[in-house]
Symmetry: C2
Subunit: 202 residues, 2 copies
Amino acid sequence: MPEPTRRAPSGAAALRADKTAAIAEAVLDELAEHGYGRLSMEAVAKRAGVGKSALYRRWPSKQHMIIAVTSELSVELAEAPDTGSLHGDVLAMLGAVADWLTHPRFSRIFPDLIAEANRDPDLAQALARSIGEPRRSRVTDVLDRAVRRGELPPDTDRELALDLLGALVYWHVSIRGVRPDAGYLERTAGTVLRALGARPAV
Amino acid sequence: MPEPTRRAPSGAAALRADKTAAIAEAVLDELAEHGYGRLSMEAVAKRAGVGKSALYRRWPSKQHMIIAVTSELSVELAEAPDTGSLHGDVLAMLGAVADWLTHPRFSRIFPDLIAEANRDPDLAQALARSIGEPRRSRVTDVLDRAVRRGELPPDTDRELALDLLGALVYWHVSIRGVRPDAGYLERTAGTVLRALGARPAV
């Protein structure tokens, strides 16, 4: 599918921001309650107190609408901290992933989108382009800075490093259902630093 | 919920194994096509060519049936290899996780069960008890052997070690949708060994 519209299409000036915000809230509520497969444009419009045409003026399809709303929330929460040390940055990033995955509604929404993406390659691509890649590109800057400080080897396997930062917290929180406390995040940061072969800054 | 019945309840002798196998296949097909939420006992019975009563003679509810069928498949695929080295064992375990998560039907079933579990704490508990814990307990033996060989420190953080073995492959395969090839599994095994602070056997 084409790039989801973050900016409103032609006629944008006529789209009221408060209506867009109300629709976004309704999309998140409906996704959390019923999931992607059972979400209907009718139900979103009703919950937002608007007509269905207000939805279609903003997004051409249900998939575009859902991707636009969930990616805005997800990319915003992808922190690219600069604490001065890789340990501090990793700890902050793991905390941000934990916040994202425990976000009251999103904790139910994200696993559901993943399930749907495993049935629908088109949705999988849209999610990768609108959530996965922007999040990963933000985090790459953090790794590059650590390489420049001498904390990471220049040939650091960036793909695996990025996987590590998301995977452990997802498995712990969203698959095993364990709440991530400060002790867990600290242990995980230590594990990630060892996995990356990190050294103290020189 | 009570422990899912792996052994058939009273009257077991009368339950035909070929019928049970046909029902299990139908459950997996229906789960892969429609997901947990939309699976109906009627559709499973019809697909298996049996009456609904044949289902209820085996399991008291839809949840029991699904947990019994999916845990049998999952726990069977949890390899506890003994190759003689931690590197060999980790590589074999990562390969087994990759096989499990790319299993033609299960690749769609598992993410869907996780999504449902994030909406249904009762299902989450049943999955942890019937899939998560048995898989983790098998793998713990592998870590214990590595500690005895001196490849892992005695105070190895087993919880994080077990998370590492599932999390990275899940994130790569089921969330990012990347096919796990031999090169990927080898790089990941190296990452896991570094994360665990592994040393060659003494």
